[in-house]
Symmetry: D3
Subunit: 115 residues, 6 copies
């Protein structure tokens, strides 16, 4: 199983495990999280790109992988990804670089899978 | 002098002071910072909105004020600001709320000035 | 108006302003935030103490002021506050100290008001 | 060797290696760290729960694993863990979720070992 | 009273207040903090410069002011300050800039006082 | 392939991949990053030590590995490393410890390779 499938399998399994514990605040938080990325005044693509930039400057590899996948499914082009990465890099500094490297490697795996 | 002018006056004065010290790496960093927000594959408005989300989750009041001003000048609507704030809030958590309060207060001052 | 009243006045006013903008995700987030501190398996006092420790290691002065106020209203003693501060300080490091200083000053103002 | 034993073995071995280098400030820091979680005005369980919340909002997987183990040994119940997780999630935002997933997986392994 | 004296007066007064509460872990932490900057394999100047860089990337204005003062007393030159600032800026990103502005303004006040 | 070679191989390969995408802002950022550590008012060793401290308090394992390697090549002694680690630990708190453990393990591998 490649890195992409492993990531998605673990993510799905543990989300179910967490929601299954039936804590009201946690369940509602997950609900708000989903609601936030639904199209509104801003479209889904813009919101997912924002989620990706936020994940990069906060340096969370799993969040980066997730939003890269979402952005790609919503049609973010390679050049748009690069522009987005540049904003995250300049705001967050060189400390973002290792996460950028892993993010780009994840994006390359996604692209390889679909070609 | 209101909060908006004070912020801009201090920002301009200190940037000049910093660039005047003539350190090559610092000057080039400021150059890259400017370059990053120029329109490319993504337009200026999208980039500034990303800069704002990044500033909110990293919780930097001055960066938030700056990007709110830029976003407003580039035509970000009230409803778009709210959508953007919701992404920053959900990614960054309740710790973002005090910065959201100050950001909204700054936006209100900007709007009051121009009405 | 002292620092305590100013803080509470601004907090209340801006929360109303933010909720008044009527963004569904933001409103629900505020709802989850309130729900989280309601007594459950853990009592309110323990939850507020956790909120305070989290605010200290994330170094947010307003969040610290807010949770200090809540903790005090829920009967957290001076010695308990000190123990809590020690955990935040050791986990978060010396970078927490300036926030500890402002937190203690806020607590002293609260105590002065009520004596 | 499962994830739990690997984690504990590496932790113990490297702590000995670090303390063996005999740097006075580092050794004293480790001493203060131990002292902080000893029962005082707050009991050990409350302090370890605080350590866990702090580790979650600062997003350190190893610190989360360590404090989950401590909390479990001190009798934190499943429902208490869920309440604690909800506070960390709401304060720290969705960026905490991947760490929550790994923390819950670690807790499940701990529980599997002891059943 | 200028910003420099205000900063130092509040710092001294609150440190005394905190240590006066007589919490063993907090007192020992403050002891380790002092010990850490004493000359050892690295001299005091190098350690204070490291403390300053760390404070800048963690974006704590008071810690930045404190270490700027220490560095200046230990003979860090203007060009050395600029080099140090460039490292903090590049590692930490543009989010550091507002703290750099306030740090440089603080350094200028220190220099004005002593001229 | 050991951890050291794997780290360096992935780092080199992905940096080439990122720079190959030919985004002007990203390329210039990498240029500024290199420039920053060149000797100036401060020598390379001091700058790399600062980069290491900054990476430790920001808790980025890859950045820590990279700067440990650079510091070692520039002649940082074991005792100097320990002093540096103590500053990072005290500023950043116990949350730094897991990164310190992995950093020391990486340094030990580097030393084993060259003996």
């Amino acid at each position: 199983m490649g890195r992409v499938s492993e990531f998605n399998e673990f993510r799905t399994r543990m989300n179910e495990r967490i929601l299954g514990a039936d804590n009201k605040a946690i369940k509602r938080f997950f609900g708000v999280d989903t609601l936030t990325y639904e199209p509104g005044a801003l479209d889904e693509k813009t919101k997912e790109m924002m989620g990706l930039v936020a994940s990069m400057v906060l340096r969370c590899d799993d969040c980066i992988s997730y939003h890269i996948q979402q952005c790609r499914n919503l049609g973010v082009s390679d050049a748009e990804f690069q522009d987005l990465f540049s904003v995250a890099l300049v705001v967050g500094g060189s400390i973002v670089i290792p996460h950028l490297r892993r993010g780009v490697a994840f994006l390359d795996e996604l692209n390889a899978q679909n070609s």
